[in-house]
Amino acid sequence: MIAALLGIFGLSLLLAICVGRTHPRIWLGLNSITALSGLYAALLVLITTQPWLWHGGFLLGGETPFLRLDGISALFLVLVCLVGGLGALYAHEYWSEHHYPRSAPNGRCWWSALTLSMGLVLTCANGLHFLFAWEAFALCAYFLITLDHDNKEARKAGWLYLAASHAGTMALFAFFSALAARTGTWELGPVHAQAGLAPLFWLVLFGFGVKAGMFPLHIWLPSAHANAPSHVSAIMSAVAIKMGVYGIVRFSGWLPMPDNAGWVLLGFGCASALLGIAFALAQNDIKRLLAYCSVENVGIILIGLGLSVLAVQHGQPVWGKAALAGTFLHVLNHGLFKSLLFFGAGSVLHATGTRDMSRLGGLWKVMPWTAGLFAVGALAVSGLPPLNGFVGEWAIYQGLLRAVAQKGPAVGVLPAVIVLAGAGALALAAFAKAVGIVFLGAPRSKPAANAVECGGLMGTPMFLLVTIMIAIGLLPGLFFRPIMGVVAIWAPQWAMADPLLATRTLGGTHTLLLCALLAGGFLMLRKIRNNGTRPGLTWDCGYVAPTAHMQYSSGSFAGIARGWFFWLLRPEMAIQRVRGIFPGKARVLERIPETVLEKIIGPGVQAISFAANGAKRMQHGRLHLYILYVFLGVTALGLMVLMGGI
């Protein structure tokens, strides 16, 4: 059954790659078939908790293919199918032939290729083929990011992404080779027995961490997400970086862990969560804001995972299980609301042609649907009840709090709780800003004023996503049940334990709360209608001629919090003040640099290029010195032999 479904998944994608260039409609159909079949297969595995295994009868690169779809991969496969399918729907209007005659056909092929390769990454259980799928996935992503090929920014972002991801891949080369060398086989599976393998986890953390956008390694993420077409940003942020998470989760479950692995994960998690959201808050580019928010959410995921690793070490199934369940649910949640938000940002970009928040505003009037859906996404990503975002963080929090309450050695997670709270509050600030600046108030530029609502094909995916999100919020129990099965795969020894998550009560409370909120809003509207309203100008303390530029801008909104992170953000201001009588135009330009990239990676690159220049000087074209090199070569090797041999 599952085999058949996955067969359909693969075949229809291959077909989609072939026909995609010429037949958009057929391509769309094939992609939906893919999504449905894949989703069905994943759900079957999740519900029955029976992993699906398949051994190929032939050699591929000297190894027999071995596919495995177990709970963990199924969970991520759900995301792939969901966002893959909805994104295809969205792209059909967003990146259509009509707007992008040159790149749209390629875009369709690469999209299907990306979906396929990610599916393979999730199912390959042979190190060689995993690397294979992994690299294919990285390349497809590159070609999608640089889809708009004449845009220099996009090309630069794409190369940065490619370079970073290749660095990660090299670490994975080393990891899988070492694994194969030590275990004697390329096949992947639990290897807890060999304690000697523990150090390999650091390679995993680096290799997959780059893709996951873990804080110091996130350098490629903002520019790539910002400059890619929005449906690509959506799948990159919602699914692609989850592949990195998948790697970390997968191998933290299979490898023997180093003693301090849990703490390191927590540390990176806290860094990503807090600093990521700090960067997000400071951005003026809506898509960059969303990108950095992904860094934050990866941080939250890592905190949960780190706690679970600690739980394994201390043999504490209860909070371990709660945290891990929360982590998995958050993976799903982030996939949902982040793709929703990127779709929303995409339709804003589509309608106004700008990502710069200081040129947007008042869009709710012209695109009410986008505004509403985006707002729901914002509420969810800020982790506010009764939406799905809260449920996941709630479970992670419970894991942390129980760890604290137990006063065991794991009480050291206290800072993580505080960081998580701070990050949550900052996220709220960031999204209050995003929604407020982009959709509320008065339009700050002409394009923003004349924007038009996106079409149905772009609206439907967002609507579906919102539905699922609300469903998770109201019926957490329904979703936690399969996730517990996934947790049991990650840590089989926990199968029996009860995480003590009061999901039912929470669900009930959420339902009541939602009803109350709706009722409150509705009654208030009716009340107002009865009492009567009188339209008027916004009250600006008697100021007679308010203009849209008097509104609080995104920069000023973030001002206070940005001040706290000044040491990290180092915003660069170019201020042209009002001077003298008959003053000219005044303006403020503000740029938030990529601190890590420019201040940390930059110097390293400098060092290397210095070495490269040294080497370059070797090739000066003077023949007699070339012969001298030969002579020196003889001498050096001779000396070496003398030392080593005689």
């Binding site: 690169g61 080393a174 070492a178 030969v630």
Partner: protein
């Protein structure tokens, strides 16, 4: 008799080509002879002839592990040459015979089981390449040839000296001074250590110069940069492999003499050094043909590193020789197309080729990914195998440095390739005829890439066995 055929057929072909009166039809000698040669090679590969241990020339396992690949590469380059030479107005009365001569001497070099013969063949190949390198006849090409000759000549002289030292080692060890590998191997333990090590150093530098290991690589970028793409392909895929085979054979002797550890250490050192230097150059060079030269230096380094791991490492190295040859060939041929169309090979002048030569550009990009070890192409598998072997042998640090170099190399190569392919093209002065992408210019690199792909995904057992046999020949299990 068969092994001699492999040498004689191209030589006769060269003779005929030299005497052939018609410029237009002369190039067809290349695919014809190439086809015959390849067919013979693969027939021998399928049915390995009995090897007379004392023969000076024999199609022994080591030869059968590499020569077919070179022959295949030559065949495809030959097909390319036909359409390539059609575009050139220069006379090809020298070019074509020289190419065939190179093929013949390459076959001799691969099969040589006598140090002297090996040296003669290598030197002869070096000389036969001279007219190929200055085919374009520009002053720069003469400069390149001059450097190629003197640096290469010096290296070759050193390897002759090394051969003599090896012979003397056997003399001093009470042997007859017979420098057939068979004799040296069986005489192994008695060889005089000092002379063996001296010989090893000299031979490593000598043949290393032909391979283009740093710091003896200096001729390579000039020669590859100035010669036509097809010549670059043959130099990078064929000539270097002769030198590598030579090193393999010699190392087996050194191993037999009980100095294997030192030899491996020196190999690892020079290999890592070459890889590092090449990677650094790749970050700086601004010319996409010189880039290919440095990439070739890098891969020679990789071969040395792999060999230094012994056993499985050698197997991986032989695998990598094939992958590197085919992939590099594809890159050189497509680079040749680009250079002709833009009539420059510097990224300062060449931009947006994806709009001028779309097909070639695709080939170039794909080739780039292939050579930087992106799956599913051959180099990925061989390099992964090398990494695995190295880690298995506990060379963690070496592998770390190796991977770092691969990363830097990737940065450099991708930087240049994308600079050439992307962006807005400028108006090129070269005549539009050179900007046509005829099948004859597109198919050969395509076939080479396909071969590299196929080699990676479905490595045929016959090759696997050939490589294993070669490994067995080099380090006979006691």
């Amino acid at each position: 008799m068969n092994p001699y055929l492999l040498i004689i057929i191209p030589l006769i072909g060269a003779l005929l080509a030299a005497l052939w009166p018609y410029k237009k039809s002369r190039p067809y000698f290349l695919p014809a002879v190439g086809l015959a040669h390849t067919a013979l090679c693969f027939r021998l590969l399928a049915k390995p002839p009995a090897v007379d241990p004392v023969a000076w020339l024999a199609f022994d396992p080591l030869a059968s592990a590499i020569l077919p690949g070179v022959s295949l590469l030559f065949l495809i380059c030959g097909c390319y040459a036909v359409s390539f030479l059609r575009l050139k107005e220069q006379d090809n009365r020298v070019f074509v015979p020289a190419l065939l001569l190179v093929l013949g001497l390459l076959s001799a070099g691969h099969q040589a089981r006598h140090l002297g013969i090996l040296w003669i063949a290598t030197e002869a190949v070096t000389l036969a390449c001279v007219p190929l390198i200055h085919f374009s006849g520009t002053p720069k090409s003469f400069e390149a040839t001059w450097k190629y000759l003197l640096v290469g000549g010096t290296g070759i002289a050193l390897s002759l000296l090394g051969s003599i030292c090896l012979g003397y080692a056997s003399l001093h060890g009470g042997g007859s001074g017979d420098i057939t590998f068979a004799a040296l191997l069986e005489h192994g333990p008695n060889l005089s250590r000092v002379w063996v090590l001296t010989a090893w150093v000299l031979l490593l530098v000598g043949y290393g110069t032909k391979m283009g290991l740093a710091p003896m690589h200096t001729w390579k970028p000039d020669a590859y940069g100035e010669s036509p793409g097809i010549v670059g392909a043959l130099l990078a895929g064929g000539v270097t492999s002769v030198a590598f085979v030579a090193l393999l054979r010699i190392k087996s002797v050194v191993d037999a003499a009980g100095e294997g550890v030192v030899a491996s250490r020196t190999l690892l050192a020079i290999g890592l050094f070459s890889t590092l230097v090449a990677a650094l150059f790749l970050l700086r060079t601004r010319d996409f043909k010189r880039m290919l030269a440095y990439s070739s230096v890098e891969h020679m380094g990789i071969l040395c590193i792999a060999t230094s791991f012994g056993g499985a490492g050698v197997w991986a190295a032989l695998f990598h020789v094939w992958n590197n040859g085919l992939t590099k060939g594809a890159l050189f041929l497509s680079a040749g197309n680009l250079q002709r169309a833009a009539n420059s090979s510097s990224i300062d002048n060449v931009r947006g080729m994806s709009k001028v030569l779309p097909r070639t550009s695709i080939l170039f990009v794909v080739g780039m990914f292939a050579i930087t070890a992106c799956p599913p192409f051959g180099p990925f598998f061989s390099e992964l195998l090398i990494v695995r072997t190295g880690l298995g042998a506990g060379h963690g640090w070496a592998i770390g440095l190796f991977l770092l170099c691969l990363l830097l190399a990737f940065f450099g190569i991708s930087r240049i390739v994308f600079a050439v392919v992307d962006g807005r093209p400028r108006l090129y002065k070269s005549n539009p005829a050179l900007r046509k992408e005829s099948a004859g210019l597109i198919l050969p690199p395509l076939i080479l890439l396909a071969a590299s792909l196929w080699l990676g995904l479905f490595t045929p057992d016959i090759l696997r066995d050939a490589w294993s046999a070669a490994v067995l020949q080099l380090s006979p299990m006691p």
